[in-house]
């Protein structure tokens, strides 16, 4: 092979086509499915407190997810979306970050938010769209957001947060903040044009961002392999953009934690954007609106149950002597009671005042909006029984 000096390209004289096989990207796994370490491998730099915090967060999220799916079935909330099976991906990665780092999620990263310290009450207020919801009840359940915890408000349009993460990280770099942004998304969302835009721009601008793709095998009913993409998943795209890339077992919290730690170093110290592809499986339906029996088999689901990230981590913690199974169980029970109490409290809190309907469209409502609100309030006063949630409060005002 000769060199084309201008392009620095190798020259070949025989035509041959590359394809997906030209790259073989392996998967990092530290903890085996049985909860023991691979032979000769050291656990990552993870202290007992952090490990236990991760585990407690996993437990909490399991309870929350289970409880809220039930609440939706009971008609107490309109919608819910579980992260069952993917707890290691969001919690393990969040644990490897600095709390000043910005998190931009898709919608299945309640684990990362809980790890950051979002309280049970804060979760519940959002889920019940009550007047204490930081988002003022305007979005569907699970669209959490919290400026205090550097957790960008979730929004339904997929992948839009990906180029936004690049922009956010650009600002962090320019401000010499020593922080980075992590951006989560599904392998389905990675088909959107915004994915391409965001990753390519991050590589070009060299910003401190970690793109974390949760490859959980499905986008609602659409299987990833063959229907979402024909290549070897998402990781090869990172290579194509000239970005540091790694694939990890998304159900191995040690692998996720370790890879994210290293990625953060690359991002913050070297302004190298990083793509992490975490291989996992969405154990529940897409959301409470979905029934997965319409598109996949119980056998397939069962095959993944044995890879459960929480059980796997628990075994390791116990083997290290950091956790006692009975303690874990009693902690679980305690948490469950707290979740139940918070749920009951949140559902009795009123919806936001109707005045909020025109706030935050702009920094201050323009005249025309104020007028529209006055007309609306006059109308509600006329037909209070038709708008029961807001009318009563207007009465008080008179």
């Amino acid at each position: 092979m000769a060199k084309d000096t201008k392009h620095q390209l190798d020259i070949v004289t025989k035509a041959s086509f590359l394809d997906a096989r030209a790259l073989n990207i392996p998967m990092l796994q530290i903890l085996k499915e049985d909860g023991t370490l691979h032979k000769g491998v050291d656990a990552p730099d993870l202290d007992q407190d952090t490990a236990l915090k991760i585990f407690r967060t996993m437990q909490f999220i399991r309870i929350l997810d289970e409880r809220m799916i039930a609440a939706q079935r009971q008609g107490r909330i309109s919608f819910y979306l579980s992260s069952l099976g993917e707890e290691a991906a969001s919690i393990g990665s969040a644990a490897a970050l600095d709390s000043r780092d910005m998190i931009m999620g898709q919608y299945r990263e309640q684990g990362a938010l809980a790890y950051r310290g979002f309280s049970i009450e804060e979760f519940m207020n959002q889920l019940f769209s009550n007047e204490r919801d930081l988002g003022k009840g305007r979005q569907m359940p699970v669209h959490y957001g919290c400026a205090r915890l550097n957790f960008m408000t979730i929004a339904s349009p997929l992948a839009t947060q990906i180029p936004q993460a690049t922009g956010y990280a650009y600002g962090q770099k320019m401000d010499q903040s020593g922080t980075c942004t992590i951006c989560y998304f599904g392998e389905g969302a990675a088909s959107e044009g915004d994915f391409h835009a965001g990753l390519n721009m991050a590589a070009v601008f060299k910003v401190p961002v970690i793109f974390f793709c949760r490859n959980n095998g499905y986008a609602i009913s659409t299987p990833s392999q063959g229907e979402q993409y024909a290549g070897d998943g998402i990781a090869p795209r990172g290579v194509a953009y000239g970005m540091k890339t790694i694939r990890v077992d998304g159900n191995d919290v040690l692998a996720v934690y370790h890879a994210t730690q290293l990625a953060r170093k690359l991002a913050v110290e070297h302004n190298e954007p990083v793509l992490i592809e975490g291989m996992s499986y969405r154990m529940a339906g897409h959301s409470t609106s979905d029934d997965p029996t319409g598109y996949r088999t119980r056998e397939e689901e069962a095959g993944w149950r044995s890879k459960d990230p929480v059980a796997r981590f628990q075994k390791w913690l116990v083997s290290k002597g950091w956790l006692d199974n009975d303690d874990a169980e009693s902690h679980y029970a305690e948490q469950k009671a707290l979740v139940l109490d918070a749920l009951k409290a949140a559902e009795t809190i009123a919806v936001p005042h109707v005045d909020e309907i025109i706030e935050d469209v702009y920094d201050t409502p323009p005249a025309q909006l104020k007028q529209q609100l006055e007309q609306l309030k006059a109308h509600i006063r006329k037909y209070p029984e038709a708008y029961p949630k807001t009318a009563s409060r207007l009465d008080e005002e008179r």
Partner: protein, 325 residues
Amino acid sequence: MAKMNLLQAINNALDIAMTNHRNVYSFGEDTGAFGGVFRATSGLTAKYGRDRNFNTPLVEQGILGFANGLASQGSYAVAEIQFGDYIFPAFDQIVNESAKFRYRSGNEFNVGGLTIRTPYGGGIAGGHYHSQSPEAYFAHTPGLKIVMPRNPYMAKGLLLSAIFDPNPVLFMEPKRLYRASVGEVPEEEYRLEIGKADIVKEGKDITVLAWGAQVEMAEKAAEMAAKDGIDCEVIDLVSILPWDIDTVAASVQKTGRLVVTQEAPLTNGFASEIAASIQERCFLYLESPIARVCGLDTPYPLCHEKEYFVDHLKVYEAIKASMSY
């Protein structure tokens, strides 16, 4: 005749189109064997194979780009966008491509075989991003047709017309009515004219104009008004582009009053176009200002959906206000 809900009527129209023409293709996110998140395409893969009804990757701009290309090749491309709120990534492919394909090429090429199906509208606790009514965003686009049916009968006949119309058509389905609206629908193929408004109820005192799911609110309001002795003429506009100004103008020349209602926010909605055009055409006939009863100029708020929603009470109040102007 059979009883069908709006979803079944749509499914039935797709089924007939695919039976009668081998080169009708139906696709979108999750629309394959699973049948779509609302199940509008259910059964089609089983019947016509996965080459003709299939899942696409998750990329709206790609769905429309693919559909434009397929239509330009001479096929009938029926693309579903899962929610109207997610049509915006495909905006360029629709507004700069589909709508201009024939004109820019001097009719060398066209995408007349394109139909875009998408559920729109509120009233389903969908909040911010599952409730928008984006028809007006497209109504400023010569080259597109935009159709919004109000019930199963209209949905089937209009969808069949849309699929075979030699122009790209945006077909917006009122998702609030998918299961709620049930009615008699002929089992065979039939087509309803695009561009013709439908006088749902004749009346002499005031014209009440709506389209899609909002027609129901106009009808309910008219019933309330009837009790006050106000005789409303209720018109379903049926299609936004082209829109049937003649029918609307004739009605307003008769009644002298017009209330237009839409789910979408007020400012620059399609009600504004109607008001602008009708005040011009019917200037000397108008006895009161044309009233628009629309969503507030805010995004769609989940917790205040009831308050935000343009219900029959708001339309009724506007009718009364117009009558007593």
